[in-house]
């Protein structure tokens, strides 16, 4: 659990760095996100007059929800403590509740930008979540479980082979991950240009420690998706539940390696593509949904053959 | 000797004679009530003394039910009519002379209907029913307004044609019976006819039934013979509308049932069932659609009577113990409910000073008792629980759907459409912001609520004795 806390800003920083490099900039140092967090924590909170108690509670809820969700993912070692307390569906739902509250926060102060942000956010989510669930269906039907550890284990045991549906699922999952983490081309975390903001517009009114928490939460989310992809599609190296110290170190190392690879790929992807109009996003996500559904259907049919 | 049977017809006759000579409308009104009450009591006594049926008069389970129902509604209606007529005289729509005439006619009508019910002779029954018709013609026209006279005239002409057709049917029945039974009176006596029905000439019976169906069907108000009914209900005094809907239709139906039994006994004759079923369905659907564009409240409920007569005829046409039972139940429930509704409507029309639905509104606000009474009545007549008509409709539909799915489906459609029409109007009458003037009128709510209470109780609990009686009759009807 703590590991993810430590790693997540690093990942973000890495992605930023790589992007900067690709743009021939020097870019911020790797540890910049940590510094940002600390700085924000030091600052005082400027709270809008019209903000309610909910506005001040939400950051903690969001953070906690995301944190719990991340810590349920078998990152370097399957069969984590309590990983059976929630399966992949529950995990998605946890992220969903985090987003629910964040959207509420966007509406709470009663500004127009908050409204833009949360309305667009829920629109995106209304497509991303079903797509994600379809992906879960595909994987769960293949692995015969919605339990992440079990799925990872199943994937590791080479009995899967190459399946079309899995490929579709991977593709869809990547799309969803991009959308959920507010990355280009769906959203741009680095802009405050009102026409394009989605995620940033929601948290516009936050400052100080609240903003720190929310940023931290979004970094965790990025980490979560990368590690989900990692543990589901490249599970090799994850230590078995009864693995010794050596296995665990291998697990950790491979995990970190996976993270960096994933971050690198993401950065490359982001720099190589342009942001798309908000109302072209549904088509983008609809593609993901279709892919997921297709995967599931294929699975249903192939099962019967 | 004067037994209960003759009493049932003697009392009204005597009362009619008295009322036609006695002065003073208050006295005559009271006397009218008393006579009706006496008739009712004698009718009830039929169950105790149970007299034999002679060559002219007949009593069996079938007409016992009808007689008691008729006399009871006749009694309650006389109570209602007393207060109604009071108000009519106050506002000067009727002169005392006309009221005396009215009361006399009322008793004549009761006499005719009872006679039709107890007659053991098809000729006698025919005479009685025609007498009843002509009496009601006179009473419909009593207001002497243009509409009233037109309604009466229409009723008169169509009625006379109906009379003629019914008579021809009766003659044919006699012709069919004569070769078997022999000439003379015997060949027109129910009890004799029924025993020999199997040997009658089927073809003659068929023709006879066609004529009887059309002749008496005109009185029952089956579409397309119904034309007289809505106007007669709308233009006559409301007590008469109540009696027409509640009783006269039943009496004509009773005649039809008798002849149906006769035909049912003859294997070679056509089954009367299908004809009745078809006419019933036509009437039900047609009336249901006609409910929608009504502007006159009494005319609307007249059409609802046509619809229910259609349902009843349908039930009897389907036959079978369950459907017949349901038909009988529906008939009695409809008589009570519909007369109750007309009681309410009569007072409402007096309170509002009009029969135009558009000029009524928010009755449950302005005059709550009448308004809710009407709502309850409409709920009952629309076949909603927990009132009696729901029971009968339940039995009719559920028992016929397994046998004739399509017919039952059509019937259901008719009922649904009718419900829509009734409540569409009820919304404007009973609810919404009050409209139109509201004058005081001391009304007698007792008859209305007595009827509704009976219907309500029957919807939940039916005394076994009544049920046994109905089931006997249902078996009788085959």
């Amino acid at each position: 659990m703590l590991l993810v806390l430590l790693l997540s800003p690093l990942l973000t920083g890495f992605v930023r760095k790589v992007k900067a490099r690709l743009l021939r900039r020097r870019g911020p140092p790797l540890l910049q996100p940590y510094r940002d967090l600390v700085r924000l924590l030091r600052k005082e909170v400027v709270l809008a007059d019209s903000a309610s108690w909910l506005f001040r509670v939400i950051p903690y809820i969001v953070f906690a929800g995301t944190w719990v969700a991340v810590s349920l993912v078998p990152t370097f070692r399957s069969g984590l403590l309590f990983s059976w307390s929630a399966d992949l569906i529950a995990l998605i739902a946890l992220l969903g509740s985090a987003r629910f509250f964040l959207a509420l926060a966007g509406l709470d102060v009663g500004t127009s930008f908050g409204g833009i942000g949360s309305s667009r956010e829920v629109m995106i989510a209304s497509l991303a979540e079903p797509a994600m669930l379809m992906i879960v269906f595909t994987l769960a039907l293949t692995a015969g479980s919605t339990q992440l550890s079990t799925m990872a284990a199943y994937m590791m045991s080479g009995q899967v082979g190459l399946r079309v549906s899995l490929g579709l699922a991977l593709l869809a999952l990547i799309i969803v991950a991009i959308a959920e983490n507010a990355r280009i081309p769906v959203d741009n975390p680095a802009t405050h240009l009102e026409l394009t903001m989605v995620h940033e517009a929601m948290v516009l009114e936050y400052s100080g420690r609240h903003l720190a928490l929310i940023d931290f939460a979004s970094e965790l989310k990025l980490l979560l998706y990368v590690s989900v992809i990692a543990c589901l599609f490249v599970p090799w190296g994850i230590a078995p539940p009864d693995g010794g110290a050596a296995a665990i170190t291998i697990g950790i190392l491979s995990y970190v390696a996976k993270l960096f690879v994933g971050g690198f790929l993401l950065a490359v992807f982001e720099t190589s593509i342009a942001k798309m109009r908000v109302f072209r996003v549904p088509a983008f996500l609809g593609a993901a949904l279709m892919l997921g559904l297709l995967g599931t259907l294929l699975l249903f049919v192939s099962r019967s053959l | 000797m004067i037994d209960a049977l003759t009493g049932v017809i003697a009392i009204p006759a005597v009362a009619a004679a008295l009322l036609s000579v006695l002065p003073g409308y208050r006295l005559t009104a009271r006397l009218n009530v008393v006579a009706a009450l006496l008739t009712f009591l004698t009718a009830v006594s039929l169950f105790i003394v149970d007299p034999r049926s002679g060559p002219y008069l007949l009593v069996d389970d079938l007409n016992k039910v009808f007689i008691v129902l008729t006399t009871f509604v006749g009694f309650t209606t006389s109570v209602f009519s007393a207060s109604y007529i009071d108000h009519e005289i106050e506002i000067g729509r009727l002169t005392p002379a006309f009221v005396r005439f009215y009361h006399a006619m009322y008793q004549v009508l009761m006499f005719a209907m009872n006679l039709a019910l107890v007659a053991n002779n098809i000729g006698l029954m025919w005479v009685a029913i025609e007498m009843a018709t002509l009496t009601t013609v006179l009473m419909v026209g009593i207001y002497r307004t243009h509409e009233a006279l037109e309604a009466a005239w229409k009723y008169f002409i169509l009625g006379s044609v109906g009379i003629a057709l019914a008579l021809f049917g009766t003659i044919l029945v006699y012709m069919a019976a004569r070769p078997v039974i022999g000439e003379g009176l015997e060949a027109m006596v129910w009890t004799v006819l029924v025993t020999h029905a199997a040997k009658f000439d089927p073809a003659l019976l068929n023709v006879a039934f066609v004529f009887l169906l059309l002749g008496y069907g005109t009185k029952v108000g089956l579409a397309p013979l119904h034309a007289w009914l809505p106007d007669a209900h709308a233009e006559g005094p409301t007590p008469i509308s109540a009696v027409l809907s509640g009783l006269l239709l039943n009496v004509a139906l009773y005649a039809l049932l008798r002849f149906k039994m006769l035909l049912a006994l003859n294997p070679a004759a056509i089954a009367p069932g299908p004809l009745m079923v078809i006419m019933g369905l036509i009437s039900c659907l047609f009336a249901a659609f006609m409910l929608y564009r009504r502007r006159d409240i009494k005319r609307m409920f007249a059409y609802s009577s046509i619809e229910h007569m259609g349902i009843i005829v349908f039930a009897f046409g389907m036959g079978g113990p369950l459907a017949n039972f349901a038909g009988l139940l529906h008939m009695s429930m409809h008589s009570l409910t519909k007369s109750a509704i007309f009681f309410a409507v009569g007072h409402i029309a007096q309170v509002k000073g009009t029969q135009k639905i558009a000029d009524m509104g928010g009755l449950t606000v302005t005059s709550p008792v009448l308004g809710w009474g009407l709502v309850l009545g409409v709920v009952a007549i629309a076949g909603l629980p927990p009132l009696g008509i729901f029971t009968s409709e339940f039995l009719i539909i559920s028992s016929t759907f397994a046998r004739e799915p399509w017919l039952a489906a059509i019937l259901v459609l008719g009922i649904l459409v009718a419900l829509g029409g009734l409540f569409l109007r009820l919304n404007t009458i009973a609810f919404g912001a009050p409209r139109g003037p509201t004058s005081r009128a001391e009304a007698s709510y007792v008859p209305m609520f007595v009827h509704l209470a009976i219907v309500f109780v029957a919807g939940i609990y039916m005394p076994p004795a009544l049920v046994d009686g109905f089931q006997n009759v249902a078996r009788l009807l085959g």
């Binding site: - | 005239w153 044609v161 044919l172 070769p179």
Partner: protein
């Protein structure tokens, strides 16, 4: 004797139908009334013949009623009404006379078919009578629905009722025949009076109430 009686009654009944056709053919009110008188006359004859054949004396009474009331009183009364109300004398028809006649033919054929399906054991006399009676009834109805004038409709109704009486008398030994004929005469009287009271000039449907009130005024 049997044969003869049969032929005579057959002849009379048949002629009754024929007269009904003649009625259908008329287009003048007075002529129509005269033909109706003839109709009633024929009816009276046939009733009388039936009375003779069935030696049922009470039927003579019916015959007399038919003769006096229907053949004499009613037509004259209607004459007077026509004069009093100034009803104009042509008969407006809904369908032309020719089609009406054809329809009438069809009706007669129909009644024949319906009635002759009666199994043979019913005696032929009754059967014929019934067939004719039925066709007279139907023709009367036809007249009521194809004529617009109130008077001609009344005439139609009356000939219909003649058909009924014919049937009733044809029914051997049927009780109450006399009463019935009387009752019907009363009915017709009602209608005629109604026409007079309500000042029904052309149509059955237009009731003139002012006239009625005036009348009441005269009475009181």
């Amino acid at each position: 004797m049997r044969g003869l009686s049969f032929d005579v009654s057959h002849l009379l009944a048949g002629s009754l139908v024929l007269v009904s056709f003649i009625q259908l053919y008329q287009d003048r009110l007075y002529a129509l009334l005269n033909v109706y008188a003839l109709h009633a006359l024929v009816l009276a004859a046939s009733v009388a013949w039936q009375a003779f054949v069935q030696d049922a004396p009470h039927l003579y009474l019916t015959a007399v009623i038919a003769l006096v009331f229907k053949a004499i009183i009613i037509p004259t009364a209607l004459h007077r009404i026509i004069v009093r109300l100034g009803i104009h004398r042509e008969i407006e028809t809904v369908v032309g006379v020719g089609p009406t006649m054809l329809l009438g033919m069809g009706l007669v054929a129909l009644s024949m078919v319906v009635m002759l399906r009666v199994t043979a054991d019913a005696d032929p006399l009754a059967r014929e009578d019934l067939a004719f009676a039925l066709s007279v009834v139907l023709l009367g109805l036809l007249m009521m629905v194809t004529r617009r004038n109130a008077v001609s409709q009344v005439v139609g109704f009356m000939s219909l009722e003649n058909g009924l009486v014919l049937a009733a008398t044809g029914a051997k030994g049927m009780p109450l025949v006399v009463e019935i004929s009387v009752a019907f005469s009363v009915l017709i009287a009602f209608i005629v009076i109604g026409i007079f009271l309500f000042r029904i000039r052309e149509r059955f449907d237009t009731v003139d109430v002012q006239a009625l009130d005036r009348f009441r005024g005269e009475r009181q």
